[in-house]
């Protein structure tokens, strides 16, 4: 067990190390800090002096050491555009993105699990067939088209829903801005959350259904039935419990993947979160902000995946921990 935890943690560090090297090389070759610091009229000699005093002529390894050291202290450079530490900019945008991911996860859980269970229990019911057909179509529709379709129907044609921005947000503890405590904010988050969840819901319906079908054909479910238990307790207590294990692990990884889709959703709805900020940074060639975003998101991915893996290893006694790690 302990060996497994160590191995997984080590792997996480190796991955983070590779990401940081990548970001360092990008910043080193694309982001010239003298561009930001130097005045237009500065002579080339002064510029060279500045480079020397900033340590830009040191060996690459020394520079990387400095970069990594600063990164570990939370200093990922200053954004060219915002004139602020990049990490501060990201942290300001973080609540918007997290709330969006949270709302979408909520939708995914409460739509896909009941539907998945139902389609597994009654595979030949017309509603199950309908759900499965819709889920094939749902998987085939890109997130941004769902988003544009929603805007076209509910904002442009019907005029019911706001189509961009976060609307009125309520600030909690002076830092976190939330959409869930005002009606206007709530209206604004509905369509982005539906769009973001639209790609995952069909996936989870299929996953829950497949796992549930497998569990339903297992011996212990048959035994529970033979014991005379009613179908509802068998389905919900015996079968669903064991279905949840793979669903949770896949779900953990997918929630990480949703960060990528927030870029698409946020760009359509002009949602002022991290993804939208990243796209703007790309268009403005704001290299420190771009690399800071990559480091930050990379960290989120690595942490989520490592935790999910460890959780899975601990919950599921069938996993050979050391061999797997």
């Amino acid at each position: 067990m302990f060996q497994f935890l160590i191995k997984r943690t080590l792997q996480a560090f190796v991955v983070m190390f590779i990401i940081s090297i990548f970001c360092f090389l990008v910043q080193d070759s694309l982001g010239d800090p003298t561009r930001e610091l130097a005045a237009m009229s500065m002579s080339n000699a002064d510029r060279a002096d500045l480079r020397e005093s900033l340590g830009l002529n040191d060996p690459l390894l020394v520079q990387y050491g400095r970069f990594a050291g600063r990164a570990l202290q939370g200093d990922l450079g200053n954004s060219y555009f915002f004139k602020e530490p990049a990490l501060t900019v990201i942290m300001k945008k973080l609540p918007a993105t997290l709330e969006l991911v949270f709302a979408a996860s909520f939708l995914i859980i409460f739509v896909s699990i009941p539907l998945g269970v139902f389609t597994a229990i009654r595979p030949r019911h017309w509603f199950s067939r309908f759900t499965m057909a819709v889920s094939v179509i749902g998987i085939s529709i890109p997130v941004f088209l769902t988003a544009l379709g929603l805007i076209f129907i509910f904002s442009v044609t019907l005029g019911w829903m706001p189509s961009f921005g976060r609307g009125e947000v309520v600030h909690i503890w002076g830092y976190w801005s939330s959409n869930f405590f005002s009606w206007d904010g709530f209206l604004h988050i509905i369509m982005p959350a539906i769009a973001l969840s639209s790609i995952m819901v069909p996936l989870f319906i299929r996953l829950v259904r497949a796992e549930m079908l497998e569990v339903l054909s297992s011996e212990y479910v048959k035994f529970a039935r033979a014991k005379g238990l009613g179908s509802v307790p068998v389905y919900l207590k015996h079968a669903l419990k064991n279905t949840m294990l793979p669903v949770i692990t896949v779900g953990g990884v997918q929630i990480g993947i949703m960060v990528a889709y927030t870029i698409l959703t946020e760009s359509v709805f002009q949602w002022p979160g991290m993804g939208f900020m990243f796209l703007e940074a790309v268009n403005r060639s704001d290299i420190p902000l771009i690399t800071a975003y990559i480091m930050f998101v990379g960290l989120v991915f690595v942490v989520v995946n490592t935790l999910v893996d460890m959780l899975y290893g601990m919950i599921n006694p069938m996993v050979d921990l050391v061999g797997k790690g």
Partner: protein, 309 residues
């Protein structure tokens, strides 16, 4: 000639054709895909205008609605976009770009995935665990995320102009390189099943080298799962390409793919010109659904677990 007709006969009697003839969804989806593929292939012949030719553009024609809406110009079947390009011609050319990128990207990931999967499954041991570890890590980062980040940096490194010229190659490389683990894993798991069989032992005894055994003996027996996953991967690659182009990191506006067309039109959604976005969107969805349904069909046929039912 006899040999040819023998193979033809054998193909007609195969399981694949047997199930295909009985599956209406498979027939319809493959026909739809075939039509789209032909339309894309012969787009220069079918399209009434050349969307890449700037001299044919007239801003006076911009934002014309499709013919079934009042105020349309009969020359433009599906209307025009913001620059006065005929939408029907642009969609035909765009489909060509999208399909080309999708198929080439899958060819690339297939090549890498097959080689790595074969080596990993056949060699086993340290090589295997290292390669699969890398695959695990790569899979845990979503392709879209990796592609967005890499393209953002490449775009900034090369500048917009050079980037536009090389966009297609860069997209194929990025999507191809970041999706190989999907195929590598599939290949590896079937190699693990195959390499224990007698014919591999026989090949060993005959003194063939590992490369020959891997590619000439084991690989042909692993083709069906590769076939299934590649189909689905084409659909995924097309969606990824569309998403990247939509974000402005893919094909430039002058040579639009379906994704960049949708992106052009999103500005005009509010002014009522919905067709610039929604018609290319419809084509994109139709292609992807057709490919996904074909993939579902292939998976059902090739998956021996389902024979029981």
């Amino acid at each position: 000639m006899d040999r040819l007709s023998f193979y033809w006969q054998r193909m007609l009697e195969s399981d694949l054709i047997y199930y295909y003839r009985r599956d209406k969804i498979a027939i319809v989806s493959s026909l739809v895909f075939l039509i789209f593929a032909l339309m894309a292939l012969f787009s220069p012949l079918i399209a009434p205008f050349d969307p890449y030719d700037l001299t044919q553009l007239d801003l006076m024609n911009s934002e014309m609605p499709p013919v079934w809406i009042e105020g349309a110009d009969p020359r433009f079947l599906l209307g025009t976009d913001d620059q006065g390009r005929d939408l029907w011609s642009t969609i035909l050319y765009g489909m060509r770009v999208s399909l080309l990128i999708g198929i080439c990207a899958v060819l690339l990931q297939g090549t890498i995935g097959i080689v790595i999967g074969l080596v990993s499954g056949y060699m086993g041991g340290k090589v295997d665990s290292l390669l699969m570890r890398i695959a695990d890590v790569q899979l845990s980062f979503s392709t879209l995320m990796v592609a967005i980040n890499v393209l953002a940096i490449v775009k900034n490194a090369f500048g917009g102009e050079t980037y536009s010229n090389w966009a297609m190659v860069i997209l194929i490389l990025v999507i191809g390189l970041s999706e190989w683990p999907q195929i590598a894993r599939t290949v590896r798991s079937s190699v693990l099943g195959e390499k224990e069989k007698e014919y591999v032992d026989a090949a060993h005894v005959m003194g063939f080298g590992p490369v020959r055994i891997m590619f000439k003996h084991i690989l042909p027996n692993c083709l069906s799962p590769i076939f299934v996953i590649s189909t689905v991967q084409i659909a995924n690659a097309i969606i990824t390409e569309a998403a990247l182009s939509f974000l402005g990191l893919g094909m430039p506006v002058t040579q639009p793919s379906l994704g960049s067309l949708i992106s052009i039109g999103k500005e005009y959604l509010f002014s009522g010109s919905w067709w610039i976005t929604l018609i290319p969107g419809f084509f994109l969805i139709a292609i992807v659904i057709a490919i996904n349904l074909m993939g579902d069909f292939l998976r059902d046929v090739f998956n021996p677990r389902l024979y029981k039912e």
